[in-house]
């Protein structure tokens, strides 16, 4: 598994497209949606390191997972496309071991630009604001909110193209991300803000005790809808699938983490099953 991890990480991290697409998307986020991400003087969260780190993670989680998922889309199917799969399968290393190594290696590599953007901001914040605790909060927030989400999205990005061409998967994945994560729940039936959404804020609200400040004058929020204060519970006024939007508290936050991990394992298991079927 370590061998596969190492080489899959190496091959993915070297892809110029990884850095180019992340760079462009990050620039779009910063320039058009939230200049305060890089201009701390315009940010309204500078007095609270935890809040600043949660807002950072939330902002990156709005669009960067699209890049993350799409860049993973060819990694599993390319072994067959390149014709390497015969040589790999003839080795004594079990297929499941290689799948896990590939999953962890490619996901880790694809998350590097994401991680650099996030922790880069945390370091700048800690220096500019004189708040070294921001670094600790950055780790806590990243591990509890971002990592579980990326594990699920990574499994989806890797396994999805087994069922359809990678290009089609990438298009559908972008559609899924907007529909299932960024649409306001009362606008249409959506998985956004549910316990199944990787972009949910259950950990921030239920585990870390986050309470959002009112939107600043220069801030634009990505959730498409009228109410900014709707995370972590049923939609005000009601919406379909609200049974999947329990009130945020610590157990629900932990449940969300568990759901993300279980979904990741489930998707990978389906991928393994699919490979077994196509082998015979």
């Amino acid at each position: 598994m370590i061998a596969t991890f190492r080489y899959e990480f190496r091959m993915q991290i070297r892809r110029p497209v990884l850095w180019i697409v992340y760079g462009l998307t990050f620039a779009v986020i910063v320039i058009t949606l939230n200049p305060a991400y890089v201009d701390l003087q315009r940010s309204n969260d500078r007095d609270d390191p935890m809040t600043a780190m949660i807002v950072s993670a939330d902002l990156l989680m709005s669009l960067l997972p699209i890049v993350y998922g799409c860049l993973l889309a060819d990694r599993l199917v390319r072994d067959r496309r390149l014709g390497v799969v015969g040589v790999l399968d003839a080795t004594p290393t079990a297929h499941t071991t290689r799948l896990i190594g590939k999953y962890l290696g490619t996901c880790a590599a694809t998350a590097v630009p994401f991680t650099l953007a996030y922790f880069g901001r945390a370091v700048v914040y800690a220096i500019v604001e004189g708040e070294p605790s921001a670094l600790g909060w950055a780790v806590v927030v990243f591990v509890t909110t971002t990592v579980p989400a990326l594990l699920f999205v990574g499994a989806l990005g890797l396994a999805g193209p087994l069922l359809m061409p990678p290009m089609l998967f990438q298009v559908l994945f972008v559609v899924y991300w907007f529909w299932g994560n960024l649409i306001y729940p009362s606008m249409m039936p959506t998985l956004a803000d549910t316990i199944l959404s990787p972009n949910s804020q259950y950990v921030a609200y239920g585990l870390l005790g986050y309470t959002p400040a009112p939107p600043g004058p220069t801030e634009t929020h990505l959730i498409i809808g009228p109410d900014y204060y709707t995370y972590g519970g049923p939609t005000p006024g009601g919406a379909s699938l609200d049974f999947l939007r329990p009130m945020a508290d610590a157990p629900v936050a932990l449940l969300w983490i568990g759901v993300m991990l279980v979904l990741a394992v489930f998707v990978l298991s389906l991928a393994r099953l699919h490979t077994t079927r196509t082998e015979s």
Partner: protein, 288 residues
């Protein structure tokens, strides 16, 4: 490693019978597997390499039943496999690719890997190109990298599927010589549709046709399939309708034909000494 195959059948989805009750015994040494495209050679190779499950029948390699997970693992530990369509990661160098495969083959010691990879790069004459990315390699260089990866764990069983396809004549000869040298106390199973490759490297061989065993024995036995059935004829006219033309060479104002036919295809036809290719073609003709 002795390979014992008994009543082996493989039927793909859609009802395509790739192998149909195959019985075959492959001893240690170099062994050739001939057959036309679609004869079932690659399916057999993939089953032996543990990549494909047979529909029925048994395969024992070195005493291990490959139908069991333990047996398959034991075989794969002793296996070097060069598939017909070898793919590589284009963004890795030859050395990195070999290092990756070596790790997957369980060579955990970095020093051992480094030494073994260095030796094999030397054997396949890729030392100078070891740190070039594989995307810049020619077809012949990729085949050589392929054989190097197959030899990494010093396998006792080497399965090579159509290894010389796409190689230029010089590389083919070099490759065949390498395979013959490797045979020694190993079992080397060479699958090909190029008769010349088997003629130059193997003493024993089998011929597959439509998933069945059409012949098994030594090279002389296959050649004798064409005894008294090979003819040459030089004529200014067209080839005789009776018999199968295996060669046609312009000569003076006419053509010199080499034919396979049970009886003289023309009153002027003269008998000729059969080659392995003639024997193979005669066998195929008989099976039609």
């Amino acid at each position: 490693m002795r390979i014992e195959i008994s009543r082996l059948t493989k039927t793909y989805r859609g009802g395509v019978h790739a192998l149909d009750g195959l019985d075959l015994d492959v001893p240690t040494g170099m062994y050739g597997l001939l057959g036309s495209n679609g004869a079932g050679k690659t399916t057999l190779m993939r089953i032996l390499a543990g990549l494909l499950k047979p529909t029925s029948g048994t395969v024992r390699i070195g005493g291990h039943d490959i139908a069991t997970a333990d047996g398959r693992l034991a075989v794969q530990r002793a296996l070097g496999y060069l598939p017909q369509d070898l793919g590589v990661y284009p963004d890795l160098t030859a050395r990195q690719f070999l290092d990756y495969i070596a790790l997957l083959k369980g060579i955990d010691s970095r020093a051992t890997r480094r030494r073994r990879i260095g030796e094999l790069l030397e054997v396949v004459a890729l030392t100078q190109d070891a740190d070039r990315r594989l995307k810049g390699f020619s077809g012949g260089m990729l085949r050589r990298a392929g054989i190097a990866q197959a030899l990494l764990a010093d396998p006792r069983l080497l399965i090579v599927d159509e290894p010389t396809t796409g190689l230029d004549p010089e590389e083919r000869i070099r490759f065949r010589t390498l395979l013959s040298q490797l045979a020694g106390d190993r079992t080397v199973l060479l699958s090909t549709h190029i008769v010349e490759d088997v003629a130059q490297t193997c003493r024993l061989l089998a011929v597959l046709t439509k998933g069945r065993l059409a012949f098994t024995g030594d090279v002389g036995g296959l050649v004798s399939q064409a005894d008294h059935r090979v003819w040459t004829l030089t004529t200014p006219g067209p080839a005789p309708s009776h018999g199968r033309v295996v060669a046609a060479v312009p000569e003076g104002t006419g053509m010199r034909y080499r034919l396979i036919a049970p009886t003289a295809p023309d009153p002027y036809a003269r008998p000729a000494e059969p080659t392995l290719e003639d024997g193979y073609l005669a066998l195929m003709e008989t099976g039609r």
